[in-house]
Every structure is written in structure tokens, then in C-alpha cells.
Subunit: 402 residues, 2 copies
């Protein structure tokens, strides 16, 4: 797998800013703003957790129009389980941002990430909004600052950009994301904000976003926990002046491919930065009868604490992989299963190959681990990205608020 | 909750033995045998993992007759994913035990626990069988030895006994169990062997066992992983000479109550001995509309890595509990939920009570943690027992085979 380095996610017609407003410890950026020069087509996908941040409720509602100009994001506080004050804070903050930008309030989305159950210090945010708006696109590092300002336990900032040509027009897609723990499909303490200058309507954009997420952000897991605040939002401002992208056309397929690549790159960066992670693990289930079967099995292996601790310890205890396959709640024939770890065949037709354990230990010492499970039942496949489970994961999460 | 100490699980008409046969490191007991003096009514429940040990397949099949005399158990090797040799080993070992005891082979059950994917050193077991049979009930510690011989990462042996009087006859139930990691409902690297002298037919016994497990062994979780080898087996030899226990009678309800108590005691001992556990945690969901809803939510909280690491760190990050409630995949009204931790009300009707965090930290410093979630939607309840997630859990599982 080739991972691109963090690239400047700048897209024509979009500006960003990130600064410190006082929520986090001193001088760690905690407030970001992304603005499109013109009203943009917009789509979003959100957490499936039944307890959600009022920010999620607000942005879901605003996105119904399919139009957006600005996204304001704070880190350090999730504004979740904060009572009626939570929604009130969303209202006053988006109102202030809209006023300062002279745009309609309903075109301002809001997102928050951080600790749950603590009232949002909205005064600090309100006070910082004029400075935030003044700073838009001013710094040569405006995207880096925004990417930094949405981080929580992330150790590295996450950004990416991709360009391609469609009917003579260059289309750019850029994005920033955050996420390190509470990471699990659909989704988990992860935020991603994507921008493109493509001409595409909001409905088609949403279709592409859902498809892209199902091969990227919805296929990563750090700890199996879904958060209350997750969202992926994409804005398209049409500055590329390409012929409009419509569903079921070659243009759609090209756009989807580019969107999937950038989503997958940003998703991989989250796994590489997984809380306490020392391994980058791809669990691939192939030969599936259905995608659902392949997904359930890949997900069961990728979320097994026993598999993940064995990977951390480089312990050749591969039986745990087959055990997790059996736990997936999906039917399969155990006597047909092959299991490979970094090209080492461990199980053939459900029988151990008795690979010398020294050979397996050597394979496990690599940073990148590919576990391939072939069910020999069909042609469907799914891949779930995960990391190992280390002392540091426990340390980070045992001391999160103290 | 009151936990009984380990009690001698002796039951009239049953004998046990445990010794070292060579599978584990030197002089750590690894082979046990439990025998009923007369053919006993027998019932069992087994793992729901689709990958199972041939020992599970063997014992499931043998239990169809509802009769059993002997159970041979080894630790240190799960005899799982061991190819065709696995089932052959079950055949030769049960045959040898049957010969030495002069009983039919089909009345001998077999169970294994330990590492997966390594061929069982069956020669060592076969060689030890004569000594095993000669040692039956000989030592004053015969039950302690048997309980020791089924341990893997367990730090303490687990046994319990309960007695009650039914229509003038004293009925005894005794049992031993093992389990520390890979513990999750339905079930997980856990074995339990229960004996009773009650007069009860195999069908009624099975009915009671299923009901008792659904309030005990199927409601504990250490790490969310189901194993390939789990079983709970109960034998009833009728030595108490009580009038036969039949379904839907007061006698059945009394027997079920006693069986549930002993199962719950043994299950609690597994959680107390959870790999790396420093907390004993009861997650109770009440006010449920259905038992399923209550179970899904209790299980989601009890398996959340984020909740479990926060409990380990005594970090008052209670928002994670509500987040896990929302992740359960069960419908509920977030605005009606109350959450309590050791009687401290944290959330009332979905709103935080703003309990001072010092008070919560103090409550979390206790060894026994009770999390109560009231859905205010009905009268059903479920309880799931769990432990915290510590550095030592990672350590134990990162170095299991090396």
C-alpha cells in the first residue's frame, strides 16, 4: 500500500484558518474555520450513535438545503450530553460566524470534538470569531493551522490533496481529518472536511460521499467505539467550471475514484496515528459470497482485542485470527478457509500449514501487517484497516481527562 | 453483591483428580478427570463460535444421549485448528479413559483449553490416563487439584458449592470453572463443570442449565472475544434420592435458583480474575422495554474499550458510558436516560447533573463498580459483569505464546 505524505489540501476558492481560543491547554490550537468564496454544494455523513452532539443535529439539518458556505470546528470539547445549553451554543456560535462573514446562518455548519459531558465554553469561541474571520486564508499555513486546530489525541496532522483532469478541466480535491481513538465504522471521534472545486450538485455529491466512505472511513477501526460527534463533510464550489457531474456517467465514476482515494488516504492516516498504535494492519477478506459476509468477518478480526494484542507483542498466536473469523456471526465453511499473514500461508482449507513459528515471528516484526482470509465461497471482498492494541492505548485512555 | 469464597465443591457420588502430564511447563497441573460413581443425567451448553474444537464436537454429540459418567479435561492446549488429528485425539483419549474406567466410551466427555493451532501432545495424555484413574478421589484435595489442572492464565482456582433441602432431601450442587481472558457471552475460553446429586432427567437439566447460564456465564465479558472451546457441563447422579424434579414445578424453580446462584458465583470469580483486572464491574440496565434492549445496552457499555480504560484509570470521563449506550444498536429515548455510578447520579433525563468530579473520582476508586442505566421505558432488566482494561491485559495477551 502506498500512503501519500501530508499534502497542502488547498483547493481554489476555499480558505481556512486555525487558532487558539482558550478551550485547550495554553497555545494549543482549538478553533478552525473553513469557508468557500461562493455558496457550495454540500453533503455530509454522520455518526450512527444514537447519542449525538447538538452540533451533529445542527449540521444534519442545515445540510438538507444542500448548500453551505462555512464550517466552524472546535476541539477540546465535544459539546455532547451538555443539556439544552448544547444546542443554544450551536445557535449563537453559527449566528456570530454568519454575521462576521455576512452570509446566511443556515449556511454555517458546526462540529466539535473532545471530552463529552462538559459544557462548551462558548464565550471563548464567540470572542474569538472576529479574529478567526479576519485570519481566513491570511497565513501561508492556513490549512495546516486548521488541520492542527481540529486535533485531539492525534499526534500528527492529517491532510491530503488529489488532482485530475476531466474534459479539459483540472479538478482538485483537498481534505483534512482528525481521529486517533474511538475509531470505528460509522464512524468514531473522527472528523473530515473535504473540499473540491468540481461542478457537482448536492444530491450527486452525497451519493459519491456515501460510496467513498464505505471503502474508507467506514472501514477503519482503532477500538470498536463509535463516537457521538463524527462527521465527514464535502463542499463543492464549482470553480473548476467542468461540465456538471451526473450519476451513472464516466465523469461520476472518475470523481468517485478520486474522492475514494482521498478518503482512503485520510482514513489510513487516522489508523497510522491510532492511539498507541505500533502496527498498520489491513484485514482483507476475499472469496466472499456477499460483501456483508466479507465485511462481518474482516471487522471481527480487526476488532478482536486478542488479535490486536498478539500483533502488538509480535506473538505468533495466529489461532486467534481463525477464532475471530468464527466469531463474526456470519456463516462460512471452516474447512475451506485459507489465512495468510504477509504472504505466509498459515491455514489451508482449515488446516494449519505448520509454518515454523520463527518465520511467522519475523513476518510479524514488520510495521505493515496484511492479514488475508480467503473464504473460497465467491468473489466479494472487503478490507478493514486497524492497528494493534498496546500499553500506550490503555495509558492514553486511562488518563484522558485527568 | 456478596461473593462466596472458594468452597470445596464435593458432591456425593462424584470423584475428581488433577495432575501434571507434560503439556504445560514443569509441574503445573494440566490434566483433570471428573467421574460419577453411577451413570448421570447430563446437559451442556457450548460456544457459539463457528470454529470449534473437536472436543466440543465430540462432547456435543455424546451429550445427545443425556447420559455421562466421566469428563476428561486438559489445559495448555486447546486442540483447535489442529486438522484431522484433532478429532482422532479425542477418540483415542476418550477410548483410553473408558477402558481404564470400564465404562462405555460414549459416556466420556472431553474438553481442552489453551493455545490454538498447535497439535495436542496426546501421547502424554494417553500415558497419564492409568495414573489419572488410579488417583480418582484419592487425595483429600482431589477437587482442588482438578480445579487447578483446568487453569490457563487464571491466577486463582475457582470452585463453589451450594446446598438446599427439597422435600426432606438435601440436594448438593458443586462446580469448578476456569477462565480469565477471551471471556464473553456464549461463552469464552471458559470451562465449567457442575455436579449435583439431584434426581432430575437430562431434558429438564438442560432447560435449567440454559436458564441459569443466561443470568450468569452468558452475562460476563472480559474482552469481547468468544473462544472455540467453551463449555458448561452439568451432571446429576440422583444420589440425593429426592422426588424427580420436573419442569414448571416449585421443585424446578428451587433447583433453578440454586443452579443460577452457583453459576453466578463461578462466573463472578472469572471476572474477579479477569486478565489484568483491577475492578469488578456490574453494568445493570433497568427500565427496559424488552430484555433484549436491556441486554444490548448493558453489553455495549460492558465491552467498550473506552469505558474499561477509563475505569482502570479512575478517570471521571462518564460521557463515554452514555456514548456506549448510544452505540448499542438498540432504540431508546436519550432524553429519558438516567445513569448512576455507585449511587452517584451522573445523568438525569439525558442531562448531566454536574456532579463535582472529585466526588466521582472518589467513587471510581472503589474496587467494586456498579453502573446503573435506567431507560424509563419498561420493567425489564439485564446485568452484565465485566472488569477494567489495564496495562496487564495487554501484557498478558501480547506475550501469550512467547
Amino acid at each position: 500500500m502506498k500512503l501519500s505524505k501530508n499534502r497542502n489540501p488547498a483547493v481554489p476558492g476555499f480558505k481556512a484558518v486555525g487558532l487558539y481560543c482558550g478551550i485547550k491547554a495554553k497555545n494549543v490550537k482549538d478553533l478552525a474555520l473553513i469557508v468557500s468564496d461562493v455558496p457550495a454544494a454540500a453533503a455530509g455523513v454522520f455518526t450512527k450513535n444514537r447519542v449525538v452532539s447538538p452540533g451533529v443535529t445542527w449540521s444534519r439539518r442545515s445540510l438538507k438545503s444542500g448548500r453551505c458556505r462555512a464550517i466552524v470546528v472546535n476541539s477540546g470539547n465535544a459539546n455532547t450530553v451538555t443539556g439544552p445549553k448544547g444546542m443554544k451554543d450551536c445557535e449563537v456560535i453559527t449566528k456570530k460566524v454568519a454575521e462576521e462573514l455576512s452570509i446566511p446562518q443556515k449556511e454555517v455548519l458546526i462540529a466539535s470534538t473532545g471530552v463529552i459531558g462538559v459544557p462548551l465554553p462558548s464565550d471563548m469561541i464567540l470572542q474569538a470569531v472576529p479574529k478567526l474571520v479576519q485570519g481566513l486564508g491570511r497565513s501561508p499555513n492556513h490549512w495546516t493551522n486548521a488541520a492542527e486546530a481540529i486535533m485531539t489525541t492525534d499526534l500528527v496532522l492529517k491532510s491530503d490533496r488529489i488532482q485530475y483532469t476531466f474534459q479539459g478541466k483540472r479538478i482538485t480535491l483537498g481534505g483534512i481529518s482528525k481521529g486517533s481513538g474511538m475509531i470505528h465504522p460509522n464512524m468514531a471521534t473522527m472528523l473530515a472536511f473535504l473540499q473540491t472545486d468540481a461542478v457537482i450538485d448536492a444530491k450527486t455529491l452525497k451519493l459519491a460521499l456515501i460510496e467513498a466512505c464505505d471503502r474508507s472511513f467506514n472501514r477503519i477501526t482503532v477500538d470498536g467505539d463509535n463516537s457521538t460527534n463524527d462527521c465527514v463533510i464535502v463542499l463543492a464550489n464549482g470553480e473548476a467550471k467542468n461540465p456538471a457531474i451526473k450519476p451513472n456517467t464516466p465523469g461520476y465514476r472518475e470523481f468517485l475514484k478520486a474522492l475514494t482515494v482521498i478518503c482512503k488516504n485520510l482514513a489510513s492516516k487516522i489508523i497510522l496515528d491510532g492511539e498507541g498504535a505500533t502496527k498498520f494492519v489491513t484485514v482483507r477478506v476475499q472469496g466472499g459470497k456477499t460483501r456483508k459476509q466479507a465485511y462481518l468477518i474482516a471487522n471481527s478480526v480487526a476488532t478482536s482485542s486478542l488479535v490486536k494484542t498478539a500483533l502488538f507483542g509480535e506473538d505468533p498466536n495466529w489461532g486467534r485470527i481463525f477464532c475471530a473469523v468464527g466469531n463474526a456471526g456470519a456463516p462460512f465453511d471452516p474447512d475451506k478457509v485459507d489465512i495468510l499473514l504477509n504472504k505466509n500461508l498459515l491455514l489451508k482449507n482449515g488446516n494449519p500449514t505448520n509454518l515454523p513459528s520463527q518465520k511467522l515471528i519475523k513476518a510479524m516484526q514488520q510495521h505493515e501487517i496484511n492479514i488475508t482470509i480467503d473464504l473460497h465461497a465467491g468473489k466479494e471482498w472487503e478490507e478493514v484497516l486497524t492497528c494493534d492494541f498496546s500499553y500506550d492505548y490503555v495509558k492514553i485512555n486511562a488518563e484522558y481527562t485527568t
